[in-house]
Amino acid sequence: MKPLNEMREVAIAGIGITKWGFYENAEWYDFGSEAILAALNDAGMEWKEVQAAFCGSVYQGTGSGHQAIKEVGLTGIPIINVENACSSCASAFRLAYQSVAAEIYDVVIAVGMEKMPRGPIPSTAFRPWELKLGFNVQPANYALMTLQYMKETGATIEDFSLVAVKNRKNGALNPNARFQKPVTLEEVMNSRLVAAPLRLLHCCPLADGASAFILCSRDKLKSKQGAVTVAASVLTSGVYGEEYPPADIVKSLKYSPSEGMTELSARQAYEVAGCGPEDIDVVQAYDSMAPGELWDLEELGFCKPGEVPKLLREGVFDLNGRLPVNTDGGLMSRGHPLGATGGGQIYEIVLQLRGEAGPRQVKDAKVGLAHAMGAGPNSAVTILKR
């Protein structure tokens, strides 16, 4: 196995995104192809330069990437569809990155797109008997983790309510977010109870949307000025013994892993990138449920277990704080089109590193990290540098 840090450098030539919300009169291939065209435009490239396509989605079904690319051009290149739950786009991005790093291709595209199903959907993330017992309620599965986190660290409901307040405040500055209205602590804590202790405003909203990324070797860049490069793109899919309720995995009481899935993926990513958590300037953490951001930041190595609530109250993770987290509003504001979510996170990091994030720009951001996780389980860590 060749070490990833000995492979060719991979740059992000272009990025594209659509507004995230509910598209009643458009399908995933409509906004998927829109994101692809935006990424090509941003890269100053034409479709015929793209040598392979990796398309992430969860619910779109057979040949979903082909449907989007049919709107752009069929040039005989391989189109690979990637379903990896909420890490689908991050996984497609990783395959795209690896194929350029390994010098198989020079220019490739990674796409994430999703039109969320409107009716009942059979979830293959759960066994049929688990569905019959009603174990497929994700706010409830997060509630099971939250109760244990609260017991271990002394964190309160107010602590993770403040995550929602922070992220919705950032989302108000993001014209592509589904929710662009801030919320108060009272609104969050008085919103409808979904699965104790989680309330409606602790849960991210669903959304449709798409994003796309042109990745290439440095010599293929049309402009080398301020190019963002991929320092690491790592995926780990579960370690034995660790609890992961969103995929109905209970922890082993006899064998706990020395390192959890997120810690493992973060450590591998820092090793490949040649940096540590102390070098990261901006983070897109996984906030599908508000309390998740608390332990996510701890597991990514930004502080010790149980320290996040205190740092959050000190403003460390605010836009103008020492380590801004979910600067685009996170899943809480952006919404969660499963197969596209990881792309939304990477898109924001690229904007921040290019200095193009407008009113939510983090001053002098040089290194950024995005963490997409989800059922499976999966943990995808992407580190970008400028």
Partner: protein
């Protein structure tokens, strides 16, 4: 009432004995389908999760697997007989303790997506740790407002919902122990 109950139990035993003979003779495959009342059948939501009482006085138990190589215990049982922890194929089927403690729980206020769950709402589920060292994901029975972590609970089998054919679909649940 007493007469009625006795009658029910007699029927229960009679029907079960008949079925046991059929199972032994290899005539029917499923051995966990039981008659409780005339015209109503109590069937588990899926096979192999728990044992059904052999007699009216007996209590159900969850069916797990224990690895004889590393000691890990699984619920539900591992159908392939392979230990996911040590990857050895050295497993035995075990009946798990009927008592445990609540490790975590939540009360769900709205029906889950997909329409697969047909039980009552609100409902509670979470984790129970059993003394032999295995965590079980389970629904909770009884007063949902009374649930607390570290609470002592015991296994029960209860009707979850009635299906379109009028069958009583049953499941294991854990219920706070009466003090």
């Amino acid at each position: 009432m007493k007469n009625c109950k006795d009658l029910l139990e007699q029927k229960f035993i009679k029907r079960y004995d008949k079925m046991k003979l059929e199972v032994e003779a290899g005539l029917i495959f499923v051995d966990i389908e039981l008659t409780t009342k005339e015209g109503e059948r109590m069937i588990p939501i899926t096979d192999g999760l728990y044992t059904m009482p052999q007699s009216p006085g007996e209590k159900p138990q969850l069916i797990g697997s224990r690895c004889l190589s590393c000691g890990e215990i699984y619920f539900p049982r591992k159908e392939k007989g392979l230990c996911v922890h040590c990857q050895q194929k050295n497993m035995e089927e075990v009946k798990l303790s009927r008592h445990g403690k609540i490790a975590s729980f939540t009360v769900v206020m709205q029906p889950p997506a997909g329409g697969f769950y047909r039980g009552p709402v609100p409902y509670a589920y979470g984790y129970v740790d059993l003394p032999e060292g295995v965590r079980v994901e389970t629904l909770f029975a009884g007063d949902l407002d009374a649930l607390e972590t570290d609470m002592d609970v015991e296994l029960v089998v209860e009707k979850l919902y009635e299906d379109d054919e009028g069958n009583e679909c049953a499941t294991y649940k854990f219920k706070p122990v009466q003090k």
